[in-house]
Symmetry: C3
Subunit: 311 residues, 3 copies
């Protein structure tokens, strides 16, 4: 009956169509729990989750922490800046030490692609990838997919444009894997330095002008511009980026009436998107945050072996 | 029956006499809970509280966290230094993101006056002001009032002196609003740069010599001198402050026998107050800390819609 | 029946043989709990533990936090870097403020020897020493003793060598007190600057050549070399240390077949110990981490007055 057999969630590229659908359906049940006055269910009572963030992220850490608490799990947080687990230790040693602490679930954010897989292969604990370098951020991909599905009722045949720094984006990769498996048509949009032709190998179209997708898109997912860490040589100036790829009011006027505008946050208002557009009726940016809780509850529940129905 | 209808506690200036009395009476019931061996009640089981401290304060954060745990709520902490919620975001965006996380209660400490009101007006969550700039720190005002009430049995007609940096103090403002509403006579004492005549508009007397209040005071509340952040131009040197306003043993000798000495902590021993005086029989400084738990339990309970009697 | 009457665990030098045995036996019961699918027992439900770490240690903090959660206690963390409890306060003031918060248990890590005793003498809360300067780290001593006991079934008559910086090591002191009381023969091994003859007063043998203990040792406990904080004048260069005291493969070849290799972590691979040796069949380094949970559960349970049997 239950088609989920995995202890880990490392990458959406690993998952079958059925597994993706199972997580999205489970998330739908948990979304109902979040709308109750009492948002807590006993599904993971007595289980321990370690939020291990070697790269900081309050937003994702908070979402996982709240999701776990709503499942009645115990949660402890370890961050890189304070962690002697990482001081002079290899990732292998860190992994082994975490295992020796007998945690049921480890949520890992790490700057190196492959870090979550490395732990998943070596530990009995469930490993949930909360972002590993430029590789994947699977719960973000799931929550984006969930949000689209909620609005359209299906993904099959939808035109989804992902705009921005695709090259360095784990969010983009997880989105692409999910969307293509579930039948959407994906276009990657951005300057050629950040959206090289090679992306076509993933099954997406590549466009270097945002105008090419405005009239056809059902969904536009705007990636966050990471001024601070982006390699300068790949990136035009901010003003040039805004003029070429920013979702301005003029461009929004060309969209289909029901086109969704998404962003993983935090927003740079006036850069990826005009402030009024971000707050407008097409924007589902805050619903993405709420849906993140439902999706993460589903992932934790599935991987930690939650039994029976969601009640 | 229950006269408390608010979802938020933003400022004591908002509250009626009846509302203030309701919170103080509820706090009395919760103080009894803190004296039990088992200090936990199920009043907020299944509710989630986010401690969102954009300005650091271990002391206040810890007090709210313990209070919430004793009410069986789930608590998560977000601090400014680690928060990507605030990175490049307006307070409005931060507020909306917190709402999207479906927290029942958000405890906010923020350096800007008005930040708590801003959130309270925009979010469905209960907002508890844990200090906003120089505006208010309502739970500190309540715990100070509670402590005085516990000792004297009433506030009506008491002479309360607040000494120090009134101009920049949210603690002073919250104290003044509560004390005047509940019938105490308040005198603000300090150098004219920090206690300008304009304070009389709040209904307090203004004095620039501590000697003026020593013989008449029933309560002396000493504000913490904030060396690090005070505007230099407003402030005399530390030695001059001690000689003019420090509560020394000689000055204590002039007090009424049952005059209470209060301080919101942390103490600068030898500055606001002599070390022996701080540890003496008149000092209720540590009782203030304990009472902070009872008062915060009462506030969380009232605002989050705790049902029925405290058990 | 229950021979444990203490509210605190400050130092293993305080404990009788019977008290040490009681904690080790209680830990054995709790180790069984950790092997269950549901690792949680209600023993300390409703009790509050404050992890107060004035000196950072993710590893020890995490272990105490997990142990307390498995006993169903509520846990809050206060770290030095963020603590206004310590800003301009004496340890005495900090202690009193913690007491005023009505915590049942305070776990203290502090850079000053004697800090835990100071609090234990002044507070009604249970004080658990999580390391105080170079004095003691009693739960580390207990978990090391527990690990040896688990392998050999007894400590009486075993030859235990502790290698490295004994002079500045609280781990060494706690180990020495426990091992000698329970009948082991202890040899302290290291350069004469770090292992002076004066240690013989504690009842241990002193050796300055690791070769002297290789053939006779039943257990070798390798202390972590603390490059960053060690006084340079006491310490040879790293290369010289490795060549004189590092546990290399060549040296391991001279050990008894069942000699245990221990290390409190985190490892400096290639310094205290060869990487292959640390991962080899004699190494119980990760079991020490797991046993830390059982031992800390036992200590918290005993000091906080856990009633009845472990279930």
């Amino acid at each position: 009956m239950n088609i989920w057999k995995r202890k880990d969630l490392v990458a959406l590229s690993d998952l079958s169509v059925e597994e993706l659908q199972f997580l999205l359906e489970t998330a739908r049940a948990f979304k109902g729990v979040g709308e109750r006055d009492l948002k807590k269910v006993p599904a993971l009572r007595g289980k321990t989750l370690i939020n291990f963030f070697v790269e900081p992220s309050t937003r994702t850490r908070t979402s996982f922490e709240l999701s776990a608490l709503r499942l009645s799990a115990d949660v402890i947080n370890i961050s890189a800046s304070t962690s002697s687990l990482t001081k002079g230790e290899t990732l292998k040693d860190t992994a082994r030490n975490l295992e020796a602490l007998l945690a049921d679930i480890i949520v890992l954010r790490h700057s190196s692609a492959g870090a979550a897989r490395f732990l998943a292969d070596r530990l009995q604990s469930s490993i949930i990838n909360a972002g590993d370098g430029a590789h994947e951020h699977p719960t973000q991909g799931l929550l984006d997919g969930f949000t689209i599905l909620e609005k359209f009722g299906h993904l099959q045949g939808l035109e989804v444009a992902i705009v921005g720094d695709i090259l360095f984006s784990r969010v983009a990769r997880s989105n692409i894997h999910l969307l293509i498996k579930l039948g959407a048509n994906v276009t990657a949009v951005g300057p050629s330095t950040l959206v090289p032709r090679e992306f076509e190998a993933l099954g997406v179209k590549v466009r270097h002008r945002i105008e090419d997708i405005l009239e056809s898109a059902d969904v536009i997912n705007l990636l966050r511009i990471q001024h601070e860490r982006q390699h300068k040589q790949y990136f035009p100036g901010l003003n040039e980026y805004v003029s070429l790829f920013g979702l301005t009011k003029d461009r929004v006027a060309q969209l289909k009436p029901d086109c969704l505008i998404m962003h993983p946050g935090p927003l740079n208002r006036g850069i990826e998107v005009d402030s009024d557009v971000a707050d407008g009726s097409r924007s589902v940016i805050l619903e993405q945050v709420t849906n993140g809780l439902a999706v993460r509850m589903a992932v934790l529940y599935a991987c930690a072996g939650g039994k029976g129905i969601v009640t």
